[in-house]
Symmetry: C2
């Protein structure tokens, strides 16, 4: 494969001059640049990023670890990260952890090997163990959507507690008292915070908190399906369900449909995070939508500030307000920002 030397030879210059042309660095005589450029075109020369990075110790690459590339909430975040990174000349590597700590650990190792410049991660658990390797190798890191106990780093997330409270109050205001919560694992901070918001809303309205109405599983469709099936056997049956994320809600819809219950006529259903294409497909589902794209942009922004900085920066925390999207019936829609 043709390399920088070949180009240099053809252009009658030293390799370093070619380097200066392709990197727009140093100063090159316009006439020389022209000759070099012609040689590049003639030989179809493509610079080798591997060698560039090896030498310069910068890959201009960041990584994004998220739990499910099939869930539009995460891919919207991914787009935000990608766009912000691309604007600064950085490429983004996407990694699917599937909520599996082992996969996460494997990817982190892979990324260290690839010498990425930084990482944006939605950790699978709030255990900082797997992240210590990053600290050791001084790899800049931004947490997105989820916190990790005792791990010092930048964080970008939504107001989970506030959003959950808002959503629960919405149900209460509609007259519901038997509100079931279907949330994610205890080891994920967002699941915890959303559960807290739920409890806070009930307390605020002096509704007794019944532990038998609180279900904890995974942030997955199947988990939502299974838990809602169990939940519907309860006597008395809850009149409303609060799904702590969109996939749980989809699983819930599936379970309700099987039982033959309609939303919202027979039972209310609300959820955290918008459902893909919900406005077109399922107009009856009130949700708290997070500004996913902005979250991604913000996280990448913080990361790249850190990469550009010459000295250490204090760690920062950005909490973005979610939006309550009330969908009552066709055409009627009401937005409120928290």
């Amino acid at each position: 494969m043709v390399n920088i030397k070949d180009v240099a030879k053809l252009a009658g210059v030293a390799p370093i001059t070619v380097s200066r042309v392709i990197n727009h660095s140093g100063s090159v005589n316009p006439a020389t640049r022209e000759r070099v450029q012609r040689a590049i075109n003639e030989l179809h020369y493509v610079p080798n990023t591997l060698a560039q990075s090896l030498r310069s110790k910068q890959t201009h690459t960041i990584a994004l670890l998220l739990s499910d590339i099939t869930n539009p909430f995460w891919t919207t975040i991914a787009r935000g990260v990608e766009d912000a990174a691309a604007e600064k000349g950085f490429h983004t590597i996407l990694c699917n952890t599937d909520e599996d700590p082992e996969k996460e650990a494997t990817y982190l190792n892979l990324l260290l090997q690839r010498r990425v410049d930084g990482i944006v991660i939605a950790p699978t658990t709030n255990d900082k163990l797997r992240l210590t390797a990053l600290k050791r190798h001084q790899l800049p890191c931004v947490l997105i959507d989820r916190r990790v106990d005792g791990f010092k780093s930048d964080v970008v997330c939504g107001d989970n507690r506030g959003g959950a409270e808002l959503l629960t109050e919405h149900l209460i205001r509609l007259g519901h008292r038997q509100i079931a919560l279907v949330s994610g694992p205890h080891s994920i901070s967002s699941a915890e915070e959303r559960a807290e918001g739920y409890r806070a809303a009930l307390r605020k309205h002096r509704i007794p908190i019944e532990e038998s109405l609180i279900f904890r599983g995974e942030f997955k469709q199947d988990s939502g399906y299974q838990l809602v099936k169990r939940l519907l056997e309860r006597d008395p049956r809850p009149t409303a369900i609060f799904a702590a994320n969109n996939l749980i809600a989809v699983g819930a819809l599936q379970a309700l449909r099987e039982i033959g219950l309609r939303v919202p006529e027979d039972i209310a259903l609300v959820c955290f995070d918008d459902i893909p294409y919900a406005s077109a497909i399922e107009p009856f589902l009130t949700v708290v939508a997070q500004p996913a794209y902005e979250m991604g942009r913000t996280a990448a922004g913080l990361l790249m500030e850190r990469l550009a900085a010459t000295r250490n920066i204090r760690t920062r925390e950005v909490v973005l307000a979610p939006e309550l999207v009330v969908r009552q019936s066709c055409g009627q829609m009401h937005h409120t920002t928290v």
Copy 2:
């Protein structure tokens, strides 16, 4: 950052011996291996992939170029590609072209620079121009979901013509005669083939083809929305709509909802490619679903066979049969394989 020499020094061996240990290549005395491994752990050594690839001329990386990472059809393909690649020890880089030929060209260039070992691509147009650079650099390539005129390479796609015919016949069998088609651009082979299938079905049943019922736009939600809005103004109004992909169908639903038309009571709607979480959310939409995950796996498989081969392989074409998923009402479901 600690490198292979540091490890070698601590273990009292030559760097190449460390190399043999980390790559499980050559043969190493168990005792030596043990000493090396201990040194690796002690120093927290992480091999530098850049240097490895530079020297070995293999990145163990393939790229997947697709049009929209937010569309679960594509991300499901992505999962198939990733999984198959990972099984062979390859990493996958995902690139979003957004159906934009310029973005595609930019990514192709980036990937050449990164010296990826091969590419799976859903091209944005059927113009082979942008792909010639791959040929020139002898970069193995597999087309997925879409063909490119005159470009010789492996291809994995669904039976677009057959699937579209099936879907159209389904509508005809339900009694529809005024069936509108909303398809994608002429420059994308799948859009063309689906339109052909539609026409073929009408011909077969001796229904006159009315050009005023055929709408061509983009494979995007907004395009579907706009075209269906226009389509509904037609007099007489079509009794059924065939959306040529899932995003067009979502846009169609949105438009129908605004007008106040219900599916399937007031107008029929079918589409190519399943709608995300459709079974849970929108149980009335009959679709032709492609085996996206399998398509991804197959494409990656062909690519990696090519990478593993020592000599040239003839180009291959795999056409996977789509599945007609008839969703008439809650709980009733009927599957037929083409």
